[in-house]
């Protein structure tokens, strides 16, 4: 097969990176072992086999979250070149931190214990089993993989924002302006976006392909985020969900969210 121009450039680019980088083994070794220190940026394909699952899911053990901690957000946004506009109008984010009564309005009531009432919990794209955003997208720019990850093709998105209207969780952001000048530190291993496209959490599919867990999961010192295959009864996420009561956001809507909260 003759490579297309884009493929050729990609191959050429990777070859060039290979020439200047230190030997791969030491680099990826450091990543797998010490995720917090620089491990946020996965580099060229390493020797670790890709992580695969029938259905990826995450459990949030919200009680473990340190008050005011934003480590998962910082790590995610650094890894994915998420811009920081510093104002709510242009705001783009993949992980948010929201008050528990806003995340679970149907479950909140005045007699909840103070420890829960005052809680802020991280919110992500729920990677729904039955995602409304995928249904409404007029170009299939947002789509669902066999392992459940709901993905975006930033090159196909026309910026109609139908998916933003369709998402019942407010998980999607639009690049209302050119995001590049607002990226604090560009990670060359992940694409930046152009203005006029929508983006959201991708469950770190680029890391899973390299055998590494999502950035938010590896960076969390409290181990509040547990990620794994929901169909594998031996996985961390399954063991956690099997043992404790968990809830999901707006399950009544039939979207089948894959982020489980333990409060």
């Amino acid at each position: 097969m003759v490579p297309t121009r884009r493929e050729f450039l990609k191959i050429a680019g990777f070859s060039a990176i290979g020439l200047v980088l230190p030997p791969l083994a030491t680099l990826t070794g450091a990543q797998a072992g010490m995720p917090a220190a620089g491990g946020v940026f996965p580099t060229a394909p390493g020797p670790l086999p890709a992580l695969r699952a029938k259905r990826w899911a995450m459990a949030v053990d919200a009680g473990k979250c340190r008050p005011g901690c934003r480590d998962c957000i910082i790590a995610c946004h650094l890894a994915h070149n998420v811009p920081d506009f510093g104002n709510p109008k242009d705001d783009v984010h993949w992980i948010g931190l929201e008050r528990v009564d806003h995340v679970f309005p149907a479950e909140a009531h005045p007699r909840l214990p103070e420890s829960i009432k005052g809680l802020s919990v991280p919110v992500f794209c729920n990677h729904c089993e039955n995602p409304p955003c995928v249904r409404v997208c007029p170009t299939k720019a947002t789509f669902q993989r066999a392992d459940g990850i709901v993905m975006m093709d930033y090159h196909r998105c026309i910026g109609c924002r139908f998916c933003m209207a369709a998402c019942p969780y407010g998980s999607r952001s639009m690049n209302y302006r050119d995001p590049r000048p607002f990226i604090p530190k560009i990670n060359a291993d992940f694409p930046t976006r152009t203005r006029g496209v929508v983006e959201k959490c991708n469950f770190c599919e680029e890391r899973l392909a390299r055998g590494i867990l999502p950035a938010c999961v590896t960076v969390c010192k409290e181990k509040a985020l547990v990620f794994g295959d929901l169909e594998d009864s031996g996985s961390d996420v399954r063991r956690l969900l099997d043992g404790r009561f968990s809830i999901r956001r707006r399950p009544d809507l039939g979207t089948g969210p894959q982020i489980y909260y333990l409060l």
């Binding site: 109008k89 409304p132 369709a166 019942p168 639009m174 209302y176 006029g196």
Partner: protein
């Protein structure tokens, strides 16, 4: 026939130049938007659709309303409409072109618009809306133009036009139904999640569109030496009256369901729309105007004494148009986003460039209507 749009009186020339100027200003700001991104508008992460999509929604209704002339004339042989069906069809053509333009300027990546055709997604209502809107545009352009061309030559229209005209009747219903489905099928937006959305859209469309046509007929009589006829205008006025009544009724039905059931997810949006939430009441103030003008117009249109007096009829039609423009062209879209899924109340205020682009597209539409109607009047006064 097109050349007839190019020659006209001094007043016609000034009007066309004025509209061209507004369209030009809009285009200038659109170039700015292309350069900066949609951040030049008042839209935000929480309120991600604004004036553009709201205008699109309102104008789909104007386009669909042509059926209120075509149906009585072609299916019930209501002869009074014979002179003006073409006006309805040309209004539909101009309105659909405005709709498509509004969608286009709302895209973050307009250069990729063909992706909708290259990677068609049959589950997306937007894909189907594109199909029905373009189909409707074609139907009205072909039938309107052919019938007018035959009028000019003094021959009856060819036989193949009739089936197309019949087809345009259900097609008109389809454009507004599919447009309503854009909103009514979204799980997390309680304000839009109502089966009555499509009927509501149709009712308000059949009031606002004919109201606009009445105003155009009155303008054409005054400035265009074309008289649509008292009977046609009065029939249209009755259509407006009952469609408006239906539209008001549907809104009241929505209010009952939400406020009697007391489900917060449904009530909150309506509270924001009509009263405001936590002091955010800009839209609520507009909606007060909308409600008052709707009731006033309904009274003026239902009473024969006021409906048959032309200046009052004109005022009532302005009220109908204003009321329903506020409801659909302002309130309906924004309120669906407030409060947000995370219960945030985010105000949306259109920016100057956004308003300029919006006015520019309206000017473009009015320019098309002006030129179509100029051609129409020229042909009709010659024969």
């Amino acid at each position: 026939m097109l050349e007839k749009a190019l020659k006209g009186s001094r007043g016609y020339g000034i009007w066309v130049a004025f509209l061209l100027l507004l369209a030009g200003i809009g285009f200038f700001f659109y170039l700015k938007q292309l350069d900066y991104g949609l951040g030049i508008t008042g839209m935000s992460r929480d309120v991600s659709w604004g004036l553009y999509i709201a205008q699109f929604t309102f104008l789909v209704g104007i386009a669909a309303s042509a059926v209120m002339l075509v149906l009585p004339y072609y299916l019930h042989d209501h002869k009074a409409f014979g002179k003006i069906t073409i006006l309805g069809e040309f209004l539909a053509v101009s309105a659909v072109i405005m709709c498509i333009t509004f969608i286009f300027v709302d895209l973050g990546q307009p250069g990729r618009v063909m992706n909708v055709l290259l990677y068609p997604s049959l589950t997306s209502v937007l894909f189907w809306d594109m199909i029905v809107l373009n189909g409707y545009l074609l139907l009205n352009l072909v039938t309107g133009w052919t019938v007018l061309g035959c009028d000019r030559k003094g021959i009856p229209p060819p036989a193949w036009v009739k089936p197309l005209i019949y087809l345009s009747i259900p097609w008109a219903v389809s454009i507004h139904t599919v447009t309503a489905f854009i909103y009514a099928g979204l799980p997390g937006r309680g304000f839009w999640l109502t089966a009555i959305m499509a009927p509501r859209f149709l009712a308000s469309a059949f009031a606002s569109g004919p109201a606009l046509l009445i105003l155009f007929c009155l303008i054409l009589r005054r400035f265009g030496r074309f008289d649509a006829g008292e009977k046609a205008i009065q029939t249209l006025a009755k259509i407006v009256a009952y469609a408006l009544a239906t539209s008001i009724f549907f809104v009241l039905v929505e209010l009952f369901t939400s406020f009697y059931s007391q489900i917060p997810g449904h009530m909150q949006h309506l509270k924001y729309l009509f009263a405001g939430l936590d002091g955010h009441n800009t839209i609520a103030r507009w909606m007060t105007v909308s409600a008052l003008t709707a009731v006033a117009a309904f009274v003026l249109l239902i009473l024969p004494q006021t409906r048959t007096r032309e200046p009052i009829l004109a005022l009532a039609c302005c009220f109908v148009f204003l009321s329903l423009w506020i409801e659909k062209g302002l309130g309906l879209v924004v309120t669906g986003f407030v409060p947000s899924p995370l219960e945030r109340i985010t105000d949306y205020t259109p920016t100057g460039p956004e308003v300029a682009i919006t006015i520019g597209i309206w000017a473009l539409g009015l320019l098309m209507i002006t030129m179509f109607y100029k051609i129409f009047v020229s042909v009709r006064t010659e024969t």
